[in-house]
């Protein structure tokens, strides 16, 4: 299978990619992947015709996929849609998605990632709170082990909708984040990796190095304390793109490749 356009959703949002493909009147399939989850969106002449991800299909699926802040995408041209599940004009889809993106920006102020795990606050809220049935369903699944993504999958709801509910539950003081409960299952990059990264990067870029590294970690939706080892090379590559001098960039990459390969 051939990919002509590929990248990471942390660098380019799904809305931006779709806008680009739509304005270019492209035909083909856009695949998105986040861990084990996958989704696909079909365009014909720039018009979005069909979207599917897990059990979701159609317009609601598009909005759910737009809520993925992390993951990979690839566009394969000239693949026709197997069916048409979206009748809404593409421009209208973009308007709704843009509003959703604005809300995501607010949610991200409170939620570090949709992989974050929460538990019910023992102290509860100081005021009377009324919950909608859907909010109660979400709250009932919070157990200090399930992430927001897990709960969205369990209830077969969009990640965005569940994150929005988490946002209001957290704001009401009903939930608190369980640090590292989920992330202990994945291998964390050792501190020595960050020491090498900072030292080598500072050598090339100067004292602003640590700030750039922190920014990139944040853009990847991660944090330094629980940074997954599997994404270490990706971080190095992203950081290295900040080095404009290609010779210096290669020297930096060479040093870091040795670190990553354990030489």
């Amino acid at each position: 299978m051939v990919e002509v356009l590929r990248g990471n959703l942390a660098q380019l949002s799904l809305l931006d990619i779709l806008r680009m493909l739509s304005s270019g009147r492209r035909t083909g399939r856009l695949d998105v992947r986040q861990g084990m989850k996958t989704g696909e969106i079909y365009l014909h002449g720039g018009v979005i015709l069909h979207a599917a991800a897990g059990t979701q299909i159609g317009e609601s699926c598009i909005y759910a996929l737009m809520g993925w802040l992390e993951g990979e995408f690839s566009f394969t041209p000239d693949i026709p849609a197997p069916e048409r599940s979206i009748q809404t004009p593409t421009e209208q889809l973009f308007l709704v998605a843009a509003r959703q993106a604005e809300q995501w920006a607010d949610i991200k102020e409170v939620l570090s990632s949709t992989e974050a795990v929460f538990n019910i606050s023992p102290s509860g809220s100081t005021s009377t709170i009324s919950l909608k049935p859907i909010e109660w369903q979400v709250l009932a699944q919070v157990n200090g082990e399930r992430s927001i993504q897990d709960i969205a999958n369990l209830l077969e709801l969009g990640e965005f909708d569940v994150a929005k509910i988490f946002y209001s539950l957290i704001s009401a003081g009903l939930l608190y984040e369980v640090t590292g409960a989920k992330r202990t299952f994945r291998e964390i990059a050792p501190e020595s990796f960050f020491e090498h990264l900072t030292e080598n990067f500072n050598e090339v870029i100067g004292p602003i190095g640590p700030v750039i590294i922190e920014d990139e970690i944040k853009l990847m939706g991660e944090n330094r304390e629980a940074f997954p080892h599997a994404r270490a090379a990706e971080l190095v590559e992203r950081v290295s793109l900040e080095i404009t001098d290609s010779a210096k960039r290669t020297v930096f990459q060479k040093k870091m490749v040795q670190v990553l390969k354990g030489n």
Partner: protein, 125 residues
């Protein structure tokens, strides 16, 4: 050139690597014996077809990653030739890309290797 391929092959998940000219003929390879010359040249020509077809549409296409169920093929267009890396699906692409960058930068400043590329240079079909 072989040293460079060896360095690339040290990346976890890499199965083998090769260099082919602009018409798919094998210039150098460091691949497992299971892959014979004919197979490698078929892979090379397939990659060249893709670069030729898509490259027209996307000016400056430099890198191609082909995903198969059992393998990933990572190819870089270095103008005088094509570098192809055959990997397992779990290969860390950013790490591989940086390893390749490092080798290509060294080749670029090595007159001996540049001469080899010049000698082997053929126009693309």
């Amino acid at each position: 050139m072989k040293n460079g391929l060896m360095e690339i092959n040290e990346t976890m998940g890499v199965w083998g690597s090769l260099i082919c000219d602009n018409q798919g003929a094998l210039l150098e390879d460091l691949t497992p014996p299971a892959l014979n010359k004919a197979t490698l040249e078929n892979v090379s020509r397939h990659v060249l077809d893709i670069i030729g077809t898509i490259g027209e549409d996307l000016a400056g296409l430099h890198e191609v990653v082909l995903h198969y169920k059992q393998r990933k093929v990572f190819a870089v267009d270095i103008q005088q030739a094509i570098l192809i890396v055959i990997c397992t699906p779990s290969v860390d692409i950013p790490l591989l890309r940086m390893s390749v960058n490092v080798v290509l930068a060294r080749w670029q400043s090595d007159p001996k290797i540049q001469k080899q590329f010049e000698k082997a240079f053929v126009e693309r079909v």
